[in-house]
């Protein structure tokens, strides 16, 4: 069998149904094999779009997302998406064509050392040097991408090798990787100590992150929260891991989190971090972060434990396996829930004093927060929402009350503007029966607007709700608050005409600039046949609050 066909067979054996990509010279043999492959190739319009679509596919479904690119610029265009998948632990496999083996190292046409370029931002990578390695490397790539802490794996394949004949037999056994054995169980002694510490805590907080979503452990998390009246908060990546409508929910924590969540962390005596990594957007000023707290840290990646904050009770393991044990051990202790009464009185005080709120306009001008609330109503709170990066992302996190995991797909760690549209396309391909809406920023959307064509060409019915404030809004906010209003290069100006642009690509385009029209406009867009863009003109200079200024402590939240 031709090695390129073996590649497709290996992908099929891994259960691949869709891949995203763009062909090119070095990947011609692979695309020739794709001609006969049993899975679908979704042709995008820029390789970055292929990468983010693969991420959206993976985040929405939990299955491995796959993107293809050719050598050189095709491969380098994937780099942002690979870095994004690395930061947010997204199970993805990136397959790049490479120049012929005799050209490697000669600065050949469309040659780029993509394994070298991506080395710091992949979970692992393979450079194929023998065509027989191809199926083996594909299986290893999938195994590494989806097990342990998920992440991106790159397989770079020289063009000449894909044309060679090899013997291919499906590989059924687990791949042999002596240096890769994730520890998933969690040390039961440590779990017992954690349960006993929880039972003795007077001001505990559970702090859950994207790891809970990745592990498919939302149900297990709910069980732990329900085992006593533990207050719970989630990171941006963890939203949906616990229902935002629950009484024990404090709201998101971190830079634009609620005061209740941040103050609870600040005063906690015990913080249980669950699949979360104490990012600087969570901790603020590290030396003043949760100064009274001891930390239980549960993570499948041992290197996360003790990286940013000390772990007093480290537990290395898959949260899906660790949480039921922790819940069981805690319940067995029969702790008296009334010890938390005083803590809840304190939290209720913050909730009353500092609810998430904004001042609505008295005219027809649309506040961005209102737009998110209206979007929540229009979708029944049940859509898969993707977002770009900036103010609209934070407002979505605050005002769209996610109740289920894998419904909120955004770029958290890398903060990649332009993530939303291609991720929505990937999510819709993975979950065709779900409503998928990209809440876009106007600064972000223009960076990837070529992917409007992808949605039409591949008949992918996504909706884009554009929060159009005419600015790089978050940068504008920072220039206003921290740079003495010396506004520089933050205005988007009047172009493009988004309705016309959408229509030019074959989308339905709708403009809304009046509050009274917003609900109907959203309904029209959601009901439109095929992709639709709703350009919502929102109040331009609204700031996103509350906020922990960069480098400040939670106690010093403003707004």
């Amino acid at each position: 069998m031709r090695a390129a066909d073996a590649l497709c067979e290996a992908l099929k054996a891994e259960g691949v149904k869709h891949v995203f990509g763009i062909p090119g010279g070095a990947s011609l043999p692979i695309y020739d094999a794709l001609y006969d492959a049993d899975f679908e190739h979704v042709q995008v319009r820029h390789e970055q779009g292929a990468g983010h679509a693969a991420e959206g596919y993976a985040k929405a479904s939990g299955r491995v997302g796959v993107a293809f690119a050719t050598s050189g610029p095709g491969a380098t265009n994937l780099v942002t998406a690979i870095a994004d998948a690395h930061m947010d632990s997204v199970p993805t496999v990136f397959i790049t064509g490479q120049v012929r083996t005799d050209l490697i190292g000669t600065d050949g046409f469309q040659e780029a050392d993509v394994t070298g370029i991506t080395m710091p931002i992949v979970k692992h990578s393979f450079l194929v040097t023998d065509p027989h390695q191809i199926p083996d490397y594909i299986h290893k790539a999938f195994h590494i991408a989806k097990t342990g802490r998920p992440g991106p794996v790159l397989v770079d394949i020289p063009q000449d090798l894909t044309k060679m004949e090899i013997d291919y037999e499906p590989i059924v056994s687990a791949p042999k990787l002596p240096g890769y054995q994730p520890n998933t169980e969690g040390n039961i002694k440590q779990i017992r100590i954690a349960a006993k510490a929880l039972a003795n805590a007077r001001r505990p907080v559970l702090y859950a992150g994207g790891g809970v979503v990745n592990a498919g452990a939302a149900e297990e998390l709910r069980e732990l929260v329900a085992s006593d009246r533990f207050p719970i908060t989630c990171t941006l990546m963890g939203l949906g891991a616990f229902p935002a409508t629950d009484d024990q929910w404090l709201g998101m924590l971190g830079m634009h989190g609620t005061r209740s969540a941040n103050y609870a962390m600040d005063e906690a005596d015990l913080i249980v971090a669950i699949g979360a990594r104490f990012d600087d957007r969570i901790t603020g000023k590290l030396s003043e972060f949760a100064p009274r707290a001891k930390f239980v840290h549960i993570d499948i990646d041992p290197a996360e434990i003790g990286k940013n904050v000390p772990a007093h009770i480290p537990i290395v393991g898959d949260v899906k396996k660790v949480l039921p044990k922790l819940t069981g051990e805690y319940r067995a202790l029969g702790a008296d829930g009334s010890r938390l009464d005083e803590w809840w009185r304190r939290i209720e005080g913050w909730r009353e004093q500092y609810p998430l709120e904004y001042e609505d306009t008295t005219d027809q001008a649309i506040k961005p927060q209102l737009m998110v609330e209206e979007m929540y109503r229009a979708t029944g709170g049940e859509a898969i929402i993707t977002s770009d990066v900036g103010q609209h992302q934070m407002w979505a996190a605050q005002y769209y009350h996610f109740t289920e995991p894998r419904k909120w797909l955004n770029s958290g760690g890398l903060g990649t503007m332009g993530f939303g549209l291609p991720a929505a396309i990937g999510a819709k391909v993975a979950m065709p029966d779900e409503q998928v809406v990209c809440l876009a920023g106007d600064g972000s959307l223009v960076m990837v607007c070529q992917e409007f064509a992808t949605a039409i060409a591949n008949d992918v019915d996504v909706k884009v709700f554009l929060m159009n404030n005419g600015h790089f809004g978050m940068v504008r906010q920072w220039q206003e608050l921290f740079w003495e209003e010396r506004y520089k290069s933050i205005e988007m100006g009047p172009s493009p005409d988004w309705v016309k642009l959408a229509e030019a690509f074959g989308w339905t385009g709708i403009l809304c600039d009046r509050k009274d029209d917003l609900a109907d406009a959203m309904r029209t867009a959601l009901d439109a046949d095929g992709p639709a863009l709703l350009d919502v003109r929102v109040v331009a200079k609204e700031n996103c609050y509350p906020m922990i200024p960069a480098g400040a402590a939670a106690r010093d939240m403003v707004g």
Binding site: P120, L127, G179, A199, P302, G306, K307
Partner: protein
């Protein structure tokens, strides 16, 4: 349940591990013998802001596996993080933070030293004291091969430096675990 019952964990007594150890660590890594593995290790150190003091790479008894021995200053690098990050590299099979008391560690160095007629005898004498070998001689210089612990090589350097050290090359330490005494 009453507060602070003994079977519960007193939060005030919890201590976190990790941080800086304040001493030099010798890490012995078994890695897959493949292209790019050293680049992954070196890249990890640079992007995480860790420093390598010495690095030695060579084959092991198994042709598929290489040994990387590196020394890292635990006063400025969090060794716990260094080893955990190294463990994440798929090509790194095993890491051992070598315990000084149960480790045999050796380094080799070559010194080319000024050795004119007036100090030649002294250089030769140092060589004998350090049980080193003279491996090259010219009219003006002597090249000495010294093998031993890092401290021994450091002190040889201190001895010969006043005589004019023209060039020095050191391998960095390699190490192996001491066999347990027969019981």
């Amino acid at each position: 349940m009453a507060d602070g019952t003994k079977e519960l964990v007193d939060l005030d007594e919890l201590r976190a591990e990790g941080g800086l150890t304040g001493r030099r660590h010798l890490l012995s890594l078994l890695v897959e013998n493949r292209p790019g593995v050293l680049a992954r290790i070196a890249g990890l150190f640079s992007r995480r802001g860790f420093n390598i003091d010495t690095l030695a790479v060579g084959p092991t008894e198994d042709p598929d596996i290489s040994r990387v021995t590196l020394t890292v200053d635990g006063a400025v690098n969090p060794i716990d993080q260094v080893t955990k990050q190294l463990h994440k590299l798929v090509n790194v099979i095993k890491i051992r933070d070598m315990e000084p008391s149960s480790t045999v560690a050796r380094e080799m160095a070559l010194f080319r030293v000024n050795a004119a007629a007036d100090n030649r005898a002294e250089i030769i004498e140092f060589t004998q004291i350090f049980r080193a070998h003279i491996v090259d001689v010219s009219r003006r210089s002597i090249t000495v091969e010294v093998t031993g612990t890092t401290e021994k090589i450091d002190s040889f350097e201190r001895m010969v430096r006043p005589h004019g050290l023209i060039e020095m090359a050191r391998t960095g330490e390699v190490a192996i675990v001491r066999a347990r005494p027969e019981s």
